[in-house]
C-alpha cells in the first residue's frame, strides 16, 4: 500500500489535490481511499489530506502515521511535526523557491523543493498552485502517469483548464530528469 499525506493551508486546494490524485490512481486501476479533515479549519489554517493506494480494497480507517510520500503546499508548514508523520524513507515534495540544502529531512527522508508559485504564474494560474504541485509530485513519485493526471485535471478543473494542465506538465517535466538522477 502507498500512503500519501498532502498538507496545505485552507483555500490552497490541498483537499482538491488529494481527490484529483486519488482519481488518477483509481482510473489507473488502483483501489484508493482519500479523506480530509476540516470543520474548525479556516482559510489559511493547515489542512491535511490523506490518500491510500492499494491493489485491493482499503480497509484501514485511521490516520496515516508513516507516509511513503508527502506533498507540502507551503514551506512554512514543513516542520519537525510534519516530517515525523512521514516514514524514515519518505519522499517529500515542498512548494518553495529555496534550494534543497535549506531543508533538514529526518532519517533517510528526501526533500525535493519545487517553485510551484513561479510555475503557476508562468502558466497563467496566478496563486493557484495545486495543478503545478500535482505535476511535480507525480514526477517525483513516478506515478500516476502524466497523461492520466492531466486528463483528470482537465476533467475536474472548474476554470482555466489549459493553464492548469500546462502548469502540471511543466512541473512534471522540470522534476522528471532530477528524479532520474537521484
Amino acid at each position: 500500500m502507498l500512503e500519501i499525506l498532502i498538507l496545505g493551508r485552507g483555500g490552497q486546494g490541498a483537499q482538491t489535490a488529494g481527490n484529483l490524485l486519488a482519481r488518477a490512481f483509481f482510473e489507473g486501476g488502483h483501489w484508493v481511499q482519500s479523506f480530509s479533515t476540516y470543520g474548525g479549519a479556516r482559510r489559511g489554517t493547515p489542512v491535511m489530506s490523506s490518500l491510500r493506494v492499494d491493489d485491493r480494497p482499503v480497509r484501514l480507517r485511521c490516520n496515516i502515521t508513516a507516509a511513503d510520500a508527502m506533498l507540502c503546499f507551503d514551506d512554512s508548514l514543513l516542520d519537525k511535526g510534519f516530517l515525523a508523520q512521514g516514514g524514515d524513507e519518505a519522499l517529500i515534495v515542498v512548494n518553495s523557491p529555496r534550494p534543497a540544502g535549506d531543508f533538514q529531512p529526518r532519517a533517510a527522508q528526501r526533500i525535493i523543493p519545487v517553485d510551484g508559485r513561479a510555475i503557476a504564474r508562468r502558466n497563467g494560474m496566478g496563486k493557484v498552485v495545486n495543478a503545478a504541485l500535482l505535476g511535480a509530485f507525480a514526477a517525483a513519485l513516478g506515478a500516476p502517469d502524466l497523461d492520466r493526471l492531466t486528463g483528470v485535471i482537465r476533467a475536474f478543473a472548474p476554470a482555466r483548464k489549459d493553464e492548469n494542465v500546462a502548469a502540471a506538465r511543466e512541473a512534471y517535466q522540470l522534476l522528471s530528469p532530477a528524479t532520474e538522477e537521484a
Binding site: 486519488a22 486501476g29 484508493v32 470543520g39 474548525g40 485491493r56 480507517r61 485511521c62 490516520n63
Partner: protein
C-alpha cells in the same frame, strides 16, 4: 475482503469514486423518497448538497424541505410520513440532539422515517470529530439503529433501511463516522435503479392520515392504551433483527454484498474477538489479519444493528470465545462505553461467556492505528477485565 487483486481490479471498472456522504445521497436518490426535510450541518452537509444537485438534474423527485431547524425538519418528517409519504432526512450531532423530543414522537407514532446521521462529537467543547455518543445517546427513543463501516456499506444500508422501516413501521437511523467514512472518497458500486425499485416496493401502511377520513394521530389516551402502544412498539422491535437479516440476504442476492445484524470476520475458532461498530471495524480487520499471521486466533464481531440489540446472536457469536475486547468510540460519563455496557448485560448469565474488556478507543476522534489494536490484544489476552473501562490514548 480477501479476494485476489486480479478480481478486485476487474470489479473497479464498474465502480464510481464517491465520498461516504455522496454514496448516501446516491442510495437515497435510488430509494426515491417522496419528501426529504433536511437541515444542513457539518459534516452531514454534502448529503444535502448532493440531493439538491440530483434534484436540479431532475434525477431526484422528492419534495425537498429546508426548514429553520432540525426540530422542524423532524416535525415535517413525521407529518409527511403520517400522510403516507416515504420520508428521508439527514443530520449530525447537535442537529440530532435538537430532534430528541420528536425522535420519541416519531417512534411512538410508528412512522417509518429513514434518517442518516453522521457521527460527530457533541459540544462543549466544539468539535467536528468522529464519535458515536450523539446517536448512542438516542438509544431509548424507539428508533432502529444501524452503523455503517464504509461508503459502500452506507449506500447499501440506507437502501435496506427503507425496507426495514416500512416493514416494521418503525423509524430507522443509519450512522457513519465523520471524516473516516463521511469524507472518505472510495470506489463504490452503484446498484441498478430497477433493482432498487423491486427491492423497495411501495407497500400499504396500516395507518395514514387522510382528509377523507376523520381520524387523529397521537391524541391523548388513557394509561392502559398508552401502555399498549409500548407493548406494540416492543413487538415491532422484536421483529427487526429478522427483517435486517432478510433485507441483507436479499440485497446480497441482487448485489453480491450481504449484511446482517452482525458482521463476523474470521471468528471461526477465534479465542480473542474485537467487538466494535462503525469505521473502527476496518482497522480492526487489519489487526485481526496481523494477529492471525502471528499465530493469534483473533476475530472481529462488528455490531451493525445496535437497536434492537441482537442479544441472542451476540451470545451465540461469542460463545466459547476466551477474550472479547469492546472498542467503544463513545463515552457515557460515569459508566464508560455504551457498547461495553450493552454487551455486559447481554452476556450476563450466558453459557461460557468471554472475559469482556471495555476500551474507550477513539473517543473524540483520536487516532487508533492497527499497531495499537494488536498491542492491546496482546496486553489483554490473558488479563482479568478491569471493572472500569480502559482509555486508549
Amino acid at each position: 475482503m480477501n479476494a485476489p487483486a486480479k478480481h478486485e481490479a476487474d470489479r473497479l471498472h464498474e465502480m464510481q469514486l464517491l465520498s461516504g456522504n455522496h454514496a448516501v445521497a446516491w442510495g437515497v436518490c435510488l430509494a426515491a423518497p417522496d419528501v426529504a426535510p433536511v437541515y444542513p450541518i457539518t459534516p452531514q452537509t454534502p448529503i444535502l448538497e448532493k440531493l439538491i444537485a440530483f434534484q436540479a438534474e431532475g434525477a431526484f423527485q422528492a419534495e425537498l424541505v429546508t426548514p429553520e431547524s432540525e426540530h422542524s425538519a423532524m416535525a415535517a418528517c413525521i407529518a409527511a410520513a403520517a400522510a403516507g409519504a416515504r420520508v428521508f432526512t439527514a443530520t449530525s450531532s447537535q442537529g440530532l440532539m435538537l430532534m430528541h423530543e420528536l425522535l420519541h414522537y416519531a417512534a411512538g407514532a410508528r412512522m417509518p422515517i429513514v434518517m442518516f446521521n453522521v457521527n460527530r462529537t457533541p459540544a462543549a467543547p466544539w468539535g467536528f470529530w468522529p464519535d458515536q455518543i450523539d446517536s448512542l445517546s438516542q438509544r431509548d427513543t424507539g428508533w432502529v439503529q444501524l452503523y455503517s463501516e464504509s461508503p459502500q456499506d452506507s449506500l447499501d444500508t440506507v437502501i435496506q433501511a427503507f425496507r426495514v422501516a416500512e416493514a416494521a413501521e418503525l423509524p430507522v437511523m443509519v450512522s457513519h463516522d465523520a471524516f473516516y467514512v463521511s469524507h472518505a472518497v472510495e470506489p463504490v458500486h452503484l446498484p441498478q435503479p430497477e433493482a432498487v425499485r423491486s427491492f423497495l416496493p411501495r407497500t400499504a401502511r396500516s395507518f395514514t392520515l387522510d382528509p377523507a377520513r376523520g381520524q387523529s394521530l397521537g391524541a391523548p389516551i388513557g394509561q392502559v392504551d398508552w401502555n399498549r402502544t409500548r407493548r406494540d412498539l416492543e413487538r415491532a422491535m422484536g421483529g427487526v433483527e429478522a427483517l435486517v437479516n432478510e433485507a441483507g440476504a436479499l440485497w446480497g442476492n441482487i448485489t453480491g454484498r450481504t449484511g446482517g445484524a452482525l458482521d463476523l470476520y474470521r471468528t471461526d475458532g477465534a479465542e480473542l474477538v474485537f467487538v466494535t461498530m462503525g469505521s473502527m471495524a476496518g482497522t480492526a480487520r487489519e489487526a485481526v489479519d496481523r494477529l492471525r499471521a502471528d499465530g493469534v486466533a483473533a476475530g472481529l464481531l462488528r455490531v451493525r444493528l445496535f437497536r434492537p440489540l441482537p442479544a441472542e446472536a451476540l451470545r451465540a457469536a461469542l460463545a466459547g470465545v476466551d477474550c472479547a475486547i469492546v472498542l467503544d468510540r463513545n463515552h457515557a460519563p460515569g459508566t464508560g462505553g455504551v457498547l461495553h455496557q450493552e454487551l455486559r448485560a447481554a452476556l450476563f448469565d450466558a453459557v461460557s461467556p468471554p472475559r469482556l474488556h471495555g476500551c474507550l478507543a477513539g473517543v473524540g476522534g483520536v487516532n487508533v492505528p492497527v499497531e495499537r489494536l494488536t498491542a492491546l490484544a496482546r496486553d489483554l489476552a490473558g488479563a482479568r477485565p478491569a471493572p472500569n473501562p480502559l482509555w486508549l490514548e
